[in-house]
């Protein structure tokens, strides 16, 4: 029963979703819509589970004074602060919650991602090595797109943007389409395997 019931739930959930596409009948759509609404709620609980796990793991580190345990206190304090502000005082424009988002979360996240610019430049200098003809093709295309897609490319050659659009619309598109078709076939077969119970890795161990 420990494995059979989840397989049945999995099949029924997927069945309702797929059948809704093929049975455009109001009562059936209403049932499928209801199952979708349940999934929205359960997925929201999964977010809370993730955060509860963050609390559990970091509390353990603090308790046994593990690596960087003082910073874990900062983490938990930040979490409690946002929960208090958000659930207690509201999330709208003008609230403290919104202020912390715009002046802390936004700059922190934006800056974290902006570090990638430095690393991609460093990788381009130290690791981008054109050793084979296919690598040369990749490199030449990359350089053409990099220069052609910025305004300075139009100064070098006025038709550069049109040439890049041609690369994007023909050879690049062909390869992407092939990848898409292959990935679609893979996704459909994996989805079917999950629904009929052949693929059960989501259940974890015993």
């Amino acid at each position: 029963m420990r494995r059979e019931v989840p397989i049945i739930i999995c099949f029924l959930a997927g069945f309702f979703f797929i059948s809704d596409y093929f049975i455009p009948q109001e009562d059936w759509t209403e049932v499928a819509h209801r199952v979708n609404q349940w999934a929205i709620i359960v997925i929201a609980f999964a977010y809370v589970l993730g955060v509860a796990n963050i609390v559990r793991v970091n509390s353990q580190v603090i308790r046994r004074k593990g690596d960087d345990w003082k910073y874990k206190i900062v983490l938990l304090c930040g979490l409690v602060l946002m929960l208090t502000l958000g659930i207690g005082l509201g999330i709208e424009r003008g609230t403290a919650f919104n202020w912390v988002f715009m002046n802390a979360i936004y700059p922190l996240q934006a800056t974290m991602f902006s570090l990638l610019a430095f690393f991609i430049a460093s990788a381009a200098f130290r690791a981008f090595r054109i050793r084979t003809w296919t690598a040369a093709l990749l490199g030449i295309t990359a350089v053409l797109v990099m220069i052609g897609r910025v305004p300075v490319g139009e100064i070098i050659w006025p038709d550069f943007p049109d040439f890049i659009e041609w690369i994007m619309n023909v050879p690049q598109l062909a390869a992407k389409r092939a990848i898409m078709i292959g990935a679609a076939l893979g996704a459909i077969s994996t989805g079917l395997k999950v629904l009929i119970g052949l693929e059960r890795t989501y259940m974890g161990g015993e």
Binding site: A46, Y47, V48
Partner: protein, 204 residues
């Protein structure tokens, strides 16, 4: 408050940038702060945007069928126990089942059928460039698909097709790399614009 906010944002930005020199306490502080307040942010948003309007309020109005997703959601937390861990699979099964259905319908109709249909193009369009483009598109898709067909050894005609397919794939990866560089640089431009413009007011 706006001035305090700008200085706080600038300070946190510089804390993160300090990592470029080397790992240091300022970066660690900012990194852990980010994880903590983001996690609190997510839960607060779920509370206001999902739990209250989609679960609690309808439940209070008498929609008792919502006790099912509520129970499944609570069962997710049995993952923290050794004895009742298996109950969390019920909730996961609902999510996985729905997303499996999503994949089948979405990829089937949106990617597979429509993309194959869009690749069935006339080899003669009335002008040489259009015809050449259509031919190259069809040829490129077919040879790239041949490359991904690993059930037959890449020898002879299949091998030649696969080799040409790799050329198209390399062009595609090169284009993706070029666009990725553009994307990453844009992110840095945004932060530097904030530091020079909003914080130091050096940009008009």
């Amino acid at each position: 408050m706006e001035l305090i906010g700008t200085w706080l944002a600038a300070g946190l930005t510089l804390f993160i940038f300090s990592f470029l020199y080397r790992d240091n306490p300022f970066y660690k502080f900012a990194e852990h702060l980010y994880v903590g307040i983001s996690a609190g942010y997510w839960v607060s948003l779920q509370y206001h945007n999902v739990f209250r309007p989609n679960l609690w309020d309808p439940l209070m109005r008498g929609d008792l069928t919502l006790l099912i997703p509520f129970a499944l959601g609570v069962l997710l937390f049995t993952r923290f126990t050794k004895k009742f861990f298996w109950l969390s699979r019920w909730a996961l099964a609902l999510i996985i089942g729905i997303f499996a259905g999503i994949a089948i319908i979405g990829y089937g109709t949106g990617d597979l059928i429509r993309q194959v249909h869009a690749n069935i193009l006339p080899l003669w369009t009335g002008d040489w460039l259009g015809s050449f483009n259509n031919f190259l598109l069809i040829f490129g898709v077919l040879t790239a698909l041949i490359y991904f067909f690993f059930s037959k050894e890449h020898k002879g005609a299949v091998g030649a097709g696969a080799k040409i397919g790799i050329w198209f794939l390399m062009i595609s990866f090169g284009a993706s790399f070029g666009y990725t560089v553009m994307s990453r640089m844009s992110l840095l431009i945004g932060r530097v614009y904030f530091l020079l413009g909003d914080w130091l007011r050096l940009i008009s």
